[in-house]
Every structure is written in C-alpha cells, then in structure tokens.
C-alpha cells in the first residue's frame, strides 16, 4: 500500500498528496520531492508548488505525457528519501511592543502567560517554513510550542499592517503587505519579506528556518525609516 497518492489537477498538473495533516515529517517529504524534481530536469515540468502536505507539479502536456510524469515521480519519491532540500537560517528582527502587537495581551491571557513570556517563548525557537502562500512571499511557519497554541480571532481584522507577525493554532505567519487577517498579531518586522526587485520576490523559501529576534520600538522605528539598511541576517546557507 503506497503512503501517497498522485492525483490529476486538471490536464496540466498533478498533486502528489502525502496526507491531510500538518506534520514536519510529511512536509519534509514534500520539500525533498520538490528538490528531487528540480534536480531531475525532466523536460516538460514547468514548476512545483509545495504545500504543508502535497506537492503540485505543473507540466506542459504537449511535451510530457501524464503517464510518463507519474512513472517518473514514483521513482523520484523512492529516491527523494535521501535528498536533502536547501534550507537557510534567517534571524528576523521583530518588535513585540504592544503598540505594534494588538493581540499580544489577549494571547497572553488565553495562554495564562505574561506578554513577556509569550515573546520569550515565540523568539526562543527555530521556526520551519512549511510553505509560502496567501500573499506573495508570505511564509507559514511552525510549530509553536503547545503553550502558545491559540485559536484564530473570532472576528478577523479588516486590515493588519505590512510586516505583521500573526499566530493561530501551531502556526506563525508574517504578512508582507497590508491585508485582512484572522490571526492574532503579536509583533511586526521592519524587514520586507517581499520585494519584486528580488529574482523571486520572496526573502524566504519553503524549507528555510527563521528565528525571530526581539527588537525595541526605537530600533523598529529606526529600521523602518531606512528600509534599505534593514537587511535580515542570513545566519547560514
């Protein structure tokens, strides 16, 4: 019995589905397969889209038949268990000042922690970039420790500022643009996660790691005034 399914998503894409849950081991298989497909250079593959639990492979059917693609992907899944996907570690400055964190007090109340303890725990761990989506350059990061898990806001906010850092369930998102949002906003980064002048626009990629570095409101305001000088530090490639 195979532990994955290959499903047609129209006549120009397949979805390789590893399960319907958010889990690091499962996401690692998604990202390893994405890397294996990229290294395989099979003619007719246009791009891949990794998500928490599946990899979509878009292809040009005039060049590559469905049967040939599926056959190749089945082999790659077996080989991909040994493939390491690229992963960079970023330190992303985040200001958790209450003036930029409209939901920090409520998150603290729900978790029974103080706001300072929420910040300490959120910035103590290394977050894994499961996938990007919703907005260009927007990462979904996990996993939060059990004691920080809170539901989404009952009423989504009409808009949150660009750079807002939101949490819900075991996930953290950083919003590259102003957007409506149902997550609990606990801080803001002055770093642009999205800039169309970059080759892919996005700062982080699926599979990267992120540590949030708490900064003061003064440091945030100084950085926000000079965005060009506000590079996040890449710790390791």
């Amino acid at each position: 019995m195979l532990d994955y399914r290959i499903l047609p998503a129209g006549d120009a894409a397949v979805v390789v589905d590893f399960g319907d849950r958010i889990e690091r081991a499962l996401n690692n298989r998604v990202l390893a397969l994405a890397q294996a497909v990229a290294e395989d250079h099979l003619e007719g593959v246009v791009e891949t889209v990794p998500t928490f639990r599946s990899l979509m492979i878009c292809y040009e059917p005039a060049t590559l038949g469905y049967a040939k693609l599926v056959d190749r992907v089945q082999k790659l899944i077996v080989e991909a268990s040994d493939v390491a996907y690229p992963s960079r570690l970023w330190r992303l400055p985040v200001c958790y000042d209450l003036s930029l964190a409209p939901d920090l007090v409520e998150v603290a109340e729900r978790t029974g922690l103080s706001p300072a303890e929420v910040v300490a725990r959120h910035s103590a761990i290394t977050h894994h970039v499961y996938m990007l989506g919703f907005l260009p350059g927007q990462p979904y990061l996990g996993d939060l420790p059990e004691e920080l898990v809170v539901p989404r806001r009952a009423t989504p906010r009409g808009k949150v500022a660009a750079g807002s850092v939101g949490v819900a369930m075991a996930m953290t998102c950083v919003f590259p643009r102003e957007t409506p949002c149902g997550l609990n906003i606990i801080g803001r980064t002055p770093v642009a996660l999205w800039d169309p002048r970059r080759p892919n626009g996005s700062l982080v990629e699926p599979g990267d790691k992120v540590i949030f570095d708490p900064i003061s409101l003064e440091a945030f305001e100084a950085a926000a005034k000079h965005p060009a000088r506000c590079d996040p530090s890449l710790v390791s490639a």
Binding site: P8, A9, G10, D11, V15, E47, V49, T51, G133, G201
Partner: protein, 347 residues
C-alpha cells in the same frame, strides 16, 4: 517626450496583461495574465505582435484615450463594443477584430461592452513597462507588474514601446467565437472523494449562475448546493486555474488565472486547460454547466486548442488600404469638408 496612450478614462478594472508569469507559485505568486488568453493572442496577431506581448485588458466598459505618439496600431478583440475614433473633429466608427492605424492626437472612445464583459486591446510593439519576473502582467493584489502594479487610472500615460508604426494593409479576423460559454468541460478534481456519488451527479447535472464579485481570481456560482462527506476544510493544497472548490455553503467557486496559489477547500473538479479562455469570459449573471470528461479527452482538447492557436496567424485577412484605412477615410472626410491638417502629409 516618449510615446504613450493618454488615458482620459480607463474604464473600471482595466490593466495591462500578457500570458502571465509562471514559475514563481512556490513563492505565493499567481501566474495571472490575460483572463482570456485566446482573445489576447488574436489581438496580438492582428497587430503583428508575438503572442506574449502585453495588451490592455478591458472589463465592462471601454477606455477613452488620446494617442500621444506619431502613430500607433491597435486591435480590439473580445466583446462587442462601439469604438469611435475622432481625428481633427471628425468622428468615425471602427470595428473590433481588425487592426487600426492611429495618428497623433486621435481620440479613441470605447463604449460599454456587449456580448461579454471582456475586451482586449493589443498595440503594435506593446507597452513600455518594466517586466516583473519576466512578465508585464499586472497583479493588483500583490501591487506589482503592468503599470505601477495597479488598475489604470484617469490621467495615466501608458508608455508605448514604439514612437510610430509603418502604414501597411490592415488585418482582420472575423470568425472568432468569443461569447461566454454555456458549458465548460472538467475532469474530476483531487478531492472528488470528499463528495458522495449523488453530489457529484448534482454538480455535473446542474446549472449554475455566476454571482456578484466575479473577478480575476475567480467566480462564485450559485445553484444546487453540494454536500461534503468528509467535511469542508482540508489542509492547504495547490490550486490550478479552473480548480472548482466547494466551501462550507456547498456553492462552487471556480478559480481563474489570478487565483491564490494554495487553498483549503475540497476541489470537486478542474476545468480543462483548453476551456480556460472561455472560463475567463464568464461574467456576473451568466449561466454555466459542467461536462465531465476524462483526462484523455482533456488532453485531446488541449491538442486541438494548441493547433487553433498555432494557426491563428493564417486566419488573418488583409483589409485593402484604399477601402478601409481609417486614417485615409478620415483624411478624405476632412478633404470634403475642406479641413486639411499638415500633419497628414508627414504621415
């Protein structure tokens, strides 16, 4: 001063679009591009452009613009619309589906669209906009691409790549079917197993109506509601143009070219790629059915569509210059009324 189209009024929802920017969906960037890539291709071929040159995508009501270039060639393809060209105080009507050579100072007024809500204007040489990730397409929600990453606004001067175009026989194409579809072909989607057989039968047997808020991301349909057998939330999964999601209320959402890259509703079916240009033509209030086809049938339809695209340039017919060049017709009109402008001699 560089050449431009000076938009006195762009119409609602007008943007620059080409064939999109594939290859960046893993970063959350939709492919986007023209809602009806076929109509854009046809318009581009009429003005002698490559198929992937960016044109003006017009929704619901046409623009009014002034030509701020020595000359320019434009072709409108898509919905029916009354197009009026005013030169030196004289106004003539111009048809869609053919190329028109315009001169400096010409005022082009495109009226309300009829027959569909989508019209393209291709301009010879295209617009002089900076490509983002290889594409001139505007992605308004992301704030980049096209002209300043936004809908066109009154007063915009949309730069043209060419300062002037040569006089030549104009081209026309008259047998395009660009009406909104009444039926779209679809194959079963990745989460078809979230629906019982009777739900699937309801979907393929029913007629749906396009609701308010149809846009470049997608269209909401209303009709017989579809019940899920495994709940209506799934962990986020990749999306395609043509993916048909069924959210909690059981009413389908059909994603179009500017869909978000991932989504969390079960997808009952996917519109086949050959029918995506037709999907782009669906407007508010249109009625639509879905026909279930196999992957093999979808692939055959795509090959047929590819050959239609390939042979588009061979379907162009010349329009004799003496008969139809609007510049000369207007010039003749001016001669009759005794108004001659020196500029015509230079062109």
């Amino acid at each position: 001063m560089s050449a431009s189209l000076h938009l006195l009024s762009p119409g609602p929802g007008a943007t620059v679009q080409d064939l999109g920017r594939p290859g960046h969906q893993r970063f959350g960037i939709p492919v986007g591009g023209a809602l009806d890539a076929f109509a854009l291709r046809a318009a581009n071929s009429l003005v002698g452009n490559a198929p992937d040159v960016g044109g003006l995508e017009i929704l619901y009501r046409g623009p009014t613009f002034v030509v701020d270039a020595a000359s320019a060639r434009v072709a409108f393809v898509g919905a029916r619309a009354r197009i009026r060209v005013t030169r030196q105080g004289t106004t003539q009507e111009a048809p869609t589906g053919r190329s028109i050579r315009l001169l400096a100072g010409d005022v082009v007024q495109v009226g309300a669209l009829a027959g569909s809500s989508l019209l393209y204007a291709a301009i010879e040489g295209g617009f002089d906009v900076d490509p983002v990730m290889g594409s001139a397409s505007t992605y308004v929600r992301g704030g980049f691409g096209g002209w300043q990453g936004r809908l066109l606004q009154p007063g915009d001067r949309l730069p043209l790549a060419r300062e002037r175009v040569d006089a030549r026989d104009e081209a026309m194409i008259d047998d395009l079917d660009l009406a909104p579809p009444t039926c779209l072909r679809a194959i079963d989607g990745p989460q078809v197993d979230h629906f019982a057989d009777d739900g699937i039968a309801t979907f393929y047997g029913g007629e749906y109506q396009v609701g308010q808020g149809a846009d470049r991301m997608g269209v909401r349909l209303s009709g017989a509601p579809l019940r899920h057998v495994h709940g209506h939330d799934i962990i986020s999964d990749g999306i395609r143009p043509g993916s048909i999601q069924i959210p909690g209320d059981g009413q389908p959402i059909v994603l179009r070219c500017e869909h978000q890259t991932t989504g969390g509703y079960p997808k009952i079916a996917t519109v086949i790629s050959a029918d995506l240009p037709a999907l782009g033509r669906l407007g508010v209030g249109d009625k639509i059915r879905f026909k279930r086809v196999t992957l093999v049938e979808a692939e055959a339809a795509r090959r047929a569509y590819a050959s239609i695209i390939e042979t588009l340039p061979t379907r162009l017919k010349p329009v004799l210059r003496s008969d139809a060049d609007i510049a000369e017709r207007l010039c003749a009109a001016n001669l009759i009324s005794g108004v001659i402008h020196a500029r015509y001699d230079a062109n």
